[in-house]
């Protein structure tokens, strides 16, 4: 059986935007029908590089990848909107592309007329549109507004109508580019049901999306593109897992880079006192509500601007925090962890002179600037006696049950009365990943117990 979509060694090269070489492309387009002509390699941009795959009939095929990985270009090549520079795309049967919904709607005329025009644009005859008209209107939930001009529609209505027309073209091959975010939950479910119906009728779907859940649940096969190169193909669970690993790696890199930049910036600001806006009791991030009236400026600012307000470093450096690392269960330092991981915060300290009055503290904040937890050695009733030379402090959390998100740390060494030795405010960032999409700021250890006649489907 011939596959529904066959993509053979497809490469796509775009011209980088350069005004002065316009003539070159026009000339070569006219003379030899090629758009690139005599452009040098640095004037072009390769969006796809030797991508091959085939989609059997009745298969739902997902394409994933980060922004700019060539997913949409691939879809446009399959749809026939652009022609691949090299390679070949074969499609068996009528295509409908859900790339931009409602492209071609004319704002001045009514939804009714636009359905006809759009249907005909997508390859239906007038009679066919007539036959499907009621179904389209009902699917879009537009009965009341179908005779109003399209310009009066809300964007959701516009998208729904576009989606309804495109899906009722009844294609053999459906190309979908990240359009499921068009309606409320109910509409999204309806769309997914429609896709399932397509599948039952042995039609093929090529789905480009950032929703990994959707790919795992819905696709028979998945394909991962990265910078135009095919990175993997096959079982959706496997491909998604490989992609997620890669994303975590690159997040790791970018967090590390950002942190290095912050540290470098704060190192320049080596003053004894904190900047004015940050004047607060440096109680190791413990934000006792009773302190608030004393420092209204700081508190207001912290809650309003989250991280941005107050990051920085100050203190006398009589005790200096020289190195900080965060490590996960594997013992290696990193920036991305799973929820529930065993996490350690290591600090290396140096005290040039022996010091007897010292407190170490730590504060943990979420992206809204809310303090999730703060403590210090004073609150936990460690009695300091002396610190001298290079030492290390490790704060160990056996199971950090946070919800998914980005978190930042305050780390500090100061006197019991708050006099700062070295205060690192929101300088350290890490990300927590979670398979569960729960909400809130804290995840209590929990389990569900069900009694009586309650059963769940096994996964």
């Amino acid at each position: 059986m011939t596959p529904a979509i066959d993509v053979i060694n497809v490469s796509k090269i775009y011209r980088r935007y350069a005004r002065r070489r316009q003539f070159a492309t026009l000339k070569s387009a006219l003379l030899d029908g090629s758009l690139l002509g005599d452009l040098k390699p640095d004037e072009t941009f390769q969006a796809l590089r030797n991508v091959s795959f085939s989609v059997p009939k009745g298969c739902t095929y997902g394409v994933i990848g980060s922004n700019g990985s060539g997913k949409s270009t691939l879809l446009k090549c399959v749809a026939g909107i652009t022609r691949p520079t090299e390679g070949e795309v074969k499609v068996d049967g009528r295509i409908s592309a859900l790339i931009e919904l409602g492209a071609g709607f004319h704002p001045e005329i009514s939804g009714r007329e636009n359905i006809f025009i759009n249907g005909i644009m997508l390859g239906l005859s007038k009679k066919e549109v007539q036959r499907r008209f009621d179904e389209i209107v009902e699917f879009a939930e537009m009965q009341d507004f179908i005779d109003a001009p399209v310009k009066t529609y809300s964007s959701g209505m516009y998208m729904r109508l576009g989606f309804a027309v495109a899906i009722h073209v009844d294609p053999e091959v459906l190309l979908v580019d990240e359009v499921l975010a068009v309606g409320d939950q109910g509409f999204t479910h309806k769309c997914l049901d429609k896709f399932s119906e397509f599948r039952r009728r042995n039609k093929s779907i090529l789905l480009v999306t950032h929703s990994l859940d959707l790919v795992e649940k819905f696709c028979d096969e998945a394909h991962w593109l990265d910078k135009g190169i095919s990175k993997g193909e096959g079982d959706p669970k496997k491909v998604v897992a490989a992609y997620v690993m890669n994303v975590e790696d690159s997040e790791q890199h970018s967090l590390a880079k950002a942190e290095a930049a912050r540290l470098a910036a704060s190192a320049k600001n080596v003053t004894g006192a904190p900047p004015v806006a940050e004047e607060r009791d440096p109680g190791s991030g413990v934000r006792d509500p009773e302190e608030a009236p004393l420092n209204p400026v700081d508190d207001a600012e912290t809650t309003r601007d989250g991280f941005k307000a107050t990051e920085g470093r100050w203190g006398t450096r009589e005790i200096e925090i020289t190195k900080v690392s965060i490590s996960g269960p594997d013992g290696e330092s990193g920036h991305v962890f799973q929820s529930g991981d065993d996490i350690k915060v290591h600090m290396t300290m140096t005290a040039k002179e022996p010091i007897t009055d010292f407190v170490f503290g730590l504060g943990l904040f979420n992206a809204d600037g809310v303090c999730i937890y703060g403590t210090n050695t004073n609150l936990e009733e460690f009695q300091p006696s002396q610190i001298v030379g290079e030492c290390s402090v490790t704060f160990e959390m056996d199971s950090l049950d946070l919800i998914e998100g980005t978190y930042r740390l305050d780390l500090a060494a100061h006197k019991a009365d708050g006099y700062p030795y070295d205060y690192h405010r929101l300088l350290y960032t890490f990300r927590i990943k979670s398979r569960v999409r729960d909400v809130g700021i804290y995840r209590p250890a929990h389990r569900w117990d069900f009694g009586g006649g309650i059963t769940f489907k096994a996964e």
Binding site: L26, E100, G104, F116, M121
Partner: protein, 264 residues
């Protein structure tokens, strides 16, 4: 090229719907709506009548009365021609969404532009006819049979040029601005507000190489001058030339087709 030209026939329904959409959308929201298609040429005729009977009564020989009607015979088709070209130069860019996001035959857009303007031209014809009757101009029915041929030649010529312009404007946006002035020049270089006979003798040669001269002259002969129609040889030659322009325009359009989705 010829295979895609053959496909054009399949887009009939699409072209038809889009022309209707264009016409509907144009006057949507205005009080008089479609009547503007009648009023516009009527008002234009009124203005020219005023200018050339009251303001400049001596600008033309007495044999050319009613001069406003004479001009109107040329201005009506010229409006079709010039607005077709002006609008088609912008049509691919305006329809960028279709070209970039939907599998859409781009050549439909310039064709729709020319056809929609042709419909406006047709809507102006009853006004012209009314004035022909009002002034009791003698109309030769045999001459009138040439009118569809003239319209057809203009249609082919305009569409060919529209292909050229729409495709090239995607690459050179400057064309849009240039074109407005070029068309004004072309308007005065064509015997519309003067007749070929009124032009100085040494200008005749120049007028003859202007294709629009023969088109306009044909309209004027059929609708204004007394019969019989004497311009058929020029007209048929122009018809043949128009087909060449059409094919050449389509060739350029077809060659640049792949660039539209990227350049629009």
């Amino acid at each position: 090229m010829f295979s895609s030209l053959a496909k054009l026939a399949r887009y009939r329904a699409l072209i038809q719907t889009l022309v209707v959409r264009d016409l509907k959308a144009r006057y949507r929201g205005s009080v008089l709506g479609f009547f503007w298609s009648f009023f516009n040429p009527a008002l234009l005729l009124f203005i020219y009548t005023f200018v050339f009977t009251k303001v400049l009564p001596s600008s033309h020989p007495a044999s050319m009365e009613p001069f406003a009607l004479f001009m109107f015979c040329g201005i009506l088709p010229w409006t079709w021609f010039s607005s077709s070209l002006l609008e088609s130069s912008n049509t691919l860019i305006a329809g960028g969404n279709l070209i970039k996001k939907v599998l859409f035959p781009a050549e439909v857009l310039p064709i729709v532009t020319v056809l929609a303007n042709m419909v406006h031209f047709f809507l102006g014809l009853p006004i012209l006819a009314a004035f022909v009757f009002y002034y009791q101009r003698p109309i030769d029915p045999v001459e009138l049979l040439w009118l569809p041929v003239i319209v057809l030649v203009q249609l082919i010529l305009s569409t060919g040029l529209a292909f050229f312009l729409s495709a090239l404007t995607v690459h050179f946006r400057d064309l849009k601005d240039l074109l407005g002035n070029l068309l004004t020049l072309w308007f005065f270089a064509t015997p519309i507000i003067y007749s070929v006979e009124m032009a100085p003798a040494d200008m005749r040669w120049w007028l003859n190489i202007n294709p629009m001269t023969h088109l306009m002259r044909s309209y004027q002969e059929v609708l204004f001058f007394d019969g019989p129609f004497g311009h058929q040889r020029w007209l048929l030659a122009l018809g043949a030339g128009s087909i060449v322009v059409f094919l050449a325009g389509y060739f350029v359009f077809d060659r640049l087709r792949d660039s539209f989705a990227e350049e629009v």
